[in-house]
Amino acid sequence: MGKSFGQPQTNSETPSFVGALQAVINAQILQMFTAMPGQIQAYDKSLGTVDVQPCIKRKYIKDDEVVDLPIINNVPVCFPRAGQAALTFPLARGDYVMLVFSQRSLERWKTQGGTVEAGDPRHHDLSDAMAIPGVYPGSVPLAGADGDNPVLQNTVASKIIVRKTEVEVAVGAGKLIVTKEGKFSFTNGVIDLMGLIDEALEQCKLITVPTIAGPSGTPLNASAFELIKQKLGVITA
């Protein structure tokens, strides 16, 4: 018997009902896109859209061909945003995003917003993707993550760590810490600003000036400087 197209891949000549049903279901599932990683090809920051190359290739079993999925154009980027507030990231070619595919066509919604008729009967379609920045493969691990606390960072040199009782802002060797008690710490890694001020106040308390009768005594308001030092101590972490 000829082994041409459309032949079942089993020993029997005709597929079972269950087999046929499974084939139909599988075919439908293959046409249903849900989510997958993609890599940015272009970013339009004024429109908040990216062109994305889906990262998972498609294999056509019939002819054993493996192909790239096509680039998806004008994919809206999901930055955290509400009202007048937003948090954006500097997306660039090569960055990864998670593509999420809408259950119904977004073609009209992307243009008009609001509540619209889909205008196209397609479901879970490749064209109806949204991009969420953030997903990366294990081969590109993220340095500087904190297992316990949220971190906002630019991996080049700066980050903000929000701990339970304090916030740390670090840029290079510079570091600012604010605690929940309202205490501060500023340092460049060598010099601590609060300590420097404390030192300056201590020196102010010891100031003497030359007079005709010899060096003067310490300032009359040394106690005021001491008071300031004490206040500084209260806000120093």
Partner: protein
């Protein structure tokens, strides 16, 4: 009423001519053999199916038909008026000895390989006319282009991406824009759903092969004529009968024939043009 009498001019002496092509496109013609066929065609995008039985092919021909990636074209009709009644890829070919004959049975799907296997992976930028996307999908099937009659003015304002078989894409676009498409005799055709394609409308009346009465059905009409390969789903047909007259859209045909005996006819289901 419009309509062209063609095959009906010489409707005696049954004739069939079978050509079998290998995957390189080389064809070998068989005529003069007994051929039986049952062919079902619709205006839908699933493959039209045919079962063709040929008696007493030579050993080499029988073996050849059982090879991979074979396709056939069956012409049938009358001397001087042969029409293609079936063509397509052989999905199954098997021979068996039924003494004293060798009987070779082929299952054929019109455009079957293209429908199942031709895939397209498209990415269109914003503003691409959907007309162009549809035409790209039609071309993506990799079969001959038949009649087309549609105009889609919308553009893909947000771009358009697709990965899958050309059939899936054409079905998807057809649903959206109200278009019907199918492969008939190896050529893809597409038009507005419910409307006929720009094609010659064969005239069917008692003089050109109408058998019995034209029956009224829930959605249209049904009739039988002498074998007529020019009645093609998606195309118009002109019917002139005692009770029912007019131009109809052919939805389905069933062609049955045996060069030596039995039926030699085309059953037709057709609907009023929408």
């Amino acid at each position: 009423m419009a309509g062209v009498v063609t095959a009906g001019a010489y409707q005696y002496l049954r004739t069939a001519e079978l050509t079998v092509f290998d995957k390189t496109g080389f064809g070998r013609k068989y005529d003069g053999l007994r051929v039986q066929f049952h062919i079902e065609k619709t205006s839908e995008s699933t493959a039209n199916k045919a079962e063709i039985k040929v008696f007493n092919l030579s050993d080499s021909s029988r073996f050849r038909i059982e090879e991979d990636e074979m396709s056939v074209e069956l012409k049938a009709g009358y001397p001087g008026a042969l029409e293609i009644v079936a063509s397509g890829d052989v999905s199954k070919g098997v021979s068996a000895k039924k003494a004293p004959d060798w009987l070779t049975t082929m299952e054929i799907q019109d455009g079957g390989k293209a429908l199942q296997e031709k895939h397209v992976d498209f990415s269109f930028t914003s503003g691409t006319p959907y007309q162009a996307i549809i035409e790209a999908a039609l071309n993506g099937l990799g079969v001959a282009q038949g009649p087309r009659s549609f105009a889609v003015s919308e553009t893909a304002v947000q771009g358009f991406s697709f990965s899958g078989t050309a059939k899936e894409l054409l079905d998807k676009l057809g649903r959206r824009f109200g278009l019907a498409w199918s492969i008939q005799n190896g050529a893809v055709q597409m038009g507005i759903d419910g409307a006929t394609l720009p094609a010659i409308a064969p005239l069917i009346d008692v003089y050109s092969g109408l058998i019995g009465n034209v029956l009224k059905r829930e959605k249209g009409i049904e009739f039988t004529s002498l074998l007529n390969g020019e009645i093609i789903p998606g195309h118009p047909v002109v019917v002139e009968s005692r009770d029912i007259n007019g131009t109809f859209l052919v939805k389905k045909t069933i062609l049955d024939g045996d060069t030596h005996d039995g039926p030699w006819q085309t059953k037709v289901e057709a609907e009023p043009i929408g």
